[in-house]
Symmetry: C2
């Protein structure tokens, strides 16, 4: 594909820095500018040759770029787009890495002038770690990237953005933005909320002789709570932006759990075993389809 002249990455953290490294490796862009609030972080990224220059000033950072990639938390993303529009050159393409798509895509679409093009994307990568230090050229390679075009999406921009994420090394696929939010609400947002809630519940249990029971735990608890180590600000924003699907999914989960509780209370051994066996089967399928 024809390389972009200058890409600005907003948010040089786990996803942003990994993306920059992949772009450098594949020579997808001629120049990379980093934007962020933390000058020391930008300096570090520049010293490590992850970005070519960095700025804490949005106007400076986006001026002259023909590709903007928003890797900032989904809570600030729309405001940043609104703020940068006056400084963007004609033909500039914007894409993002936000974990929520429906409301973001609608709001950003509505902001777009005629000569600026936005195509929503969600690279499914990352983990409980965050920040520049955890970034790496392999993070995005082979992972899925969901592209969420709308009726307003310009065909050529869609093609350019899809090619861009594919050249980064990702498996691109297209999905409706609202469908995306329900699917990843279930696969990712609900599990994070559950992990945070479980971690807080377990840590609050005290007995006569054990004010702190965590030191007695085995491996199972560490795995199930791993994603409770994820960045609180990022997940606060995701839950608030994807409110409706997340609340619906919490309701569904609470109902499923309440049913299991009833089976336990009523000693319904067969039905309980059947429920657990069903989960067993789903987990087997999950592992199978992901290896």
């Amino acid at each position: 594909m024809k390389p972009f002249k200058q890409m600005t990455i907003l948010g040089v953290g786990l996803i942003g820095a990994s993306l920059a490294q992949s772009c450098k490796k594949s020579r997808l862009v001629e120049r990379i500018v980093g934007f962020g609030r933390n000058a020391a972080n930008l300096k570090k990224a520049q010293e490590r040759n992850i970005i070519d220059s960095g700025s804490t000033d949005l106007k400076t950072a986006v001026t002259g770029s023909d590709l903007i990639v928003l890797c900032t938390p989904v809570g600030v993303l729309v405001e940043q787009v609104r703020e940068m529009i006056p400084f963007l050159q004609d033909g500039c393409i914007i894409t993002d890495a936000g974990s929520v798509k429906g409301p973001l895509v609608e709001e950003i679409d509505a902001l777009m002038p005629d000569s600026i093009y936005y195509v929503g994307a969600h690279p499914i990568a990352g983990g409980e770690q965050s920040g520049l230090e955890a970034a790496g050229v392999d993070l995005l390679t082979g992972a899925k990237c969901i592209i969420t075009p709308t009726a307003n999406t310009q065909t050529e921009a869609l093609q350019r953005v899809t090619e861009f994420w594919a050249e980064v090394g990702m498996q691109t696929m297209t999905m409706d933005a609202h469908e995306h939010d329900m699917v990843f609400g279930a696969l990712s947002h609900l599990p994070h909320v559950v992990a945070y809630a479980l971690m807080n519940t377990v840590a609050s249990v005290k007995t006569d002789n054990h004010g702190d029971i965590l030191s007695l735990s085995a491996g199972g608890l560490q795995d199930i709570t791993r994603i409770a180590s994820s960045d609180p600000v990022m997940w606060r924003d995701i839950c608030l932006k994807n409110k409706r699907p997340v609340v619906t999914l919490i309701d569904q989960f609470q109902e499923t759990l309440a049913n299991i509780k009833t089976l336990i209370e009523q000693d319904q051994a067969d039905a309980l075993q059947k429920t657990f066996a069903k989960a067993n089967g789903h987990r087997g399928k999950l592992v199978e389809t992901n290896t």
Copy 2:
């Protein structure tokens, strides 16, 4: 310590077979007899020199043994003790590997004749795998083993059993049986129930274009649901045997989750971030105390 002459292991699965291998390695017992319902499994264990002989007949399996270790699911354990008592020799010591202690310890204590001694134990080992194939000589090494003596526990038997689990390579510690059930209800039983419920909830989500969303998932879901691959019969029995603590803990978890849901619904960004950050801190402590 003075070795036992003959140990019978009930249930030659993950824990039973691992224990047998550890005992062989440390020459803790002169002879190991396996008991189970599955003759083929016993034969395999004998061929691999994990046990010296095996029997599907309880009388045959326990006759002549001075140590009995119950590694069968907690739902059948008390009945098996009741059934074996007529065939046990004087001075015989019984211990177990059950994940629930309170009700089991009380029921087994009440069954004990004068010359037979029971000391409850819970080796904190295992994982989502089960069965002979997953067993290994290292499974128990270095892990914790909770010993749950009661007012009825004979001092010498307590000492022998504690030494036994220590010589197997485990870190032994003493705990009240009911306290044990609340602590491990929180650290282990609740997380399993949550994992099963989460797996079933996520797998039931369908959208217009995705009848099966599991193929779209990333790594986070696999980790949080890992223990949903655990044996349904074993966990059915644990939940039913430890009913009161498990139900109480499900209630506490549901309340914590409902609070998070309210914060999301009401857009309480600061409180939501604080809740997630608290979980973050607990998880950090959990990892720290377990490495």
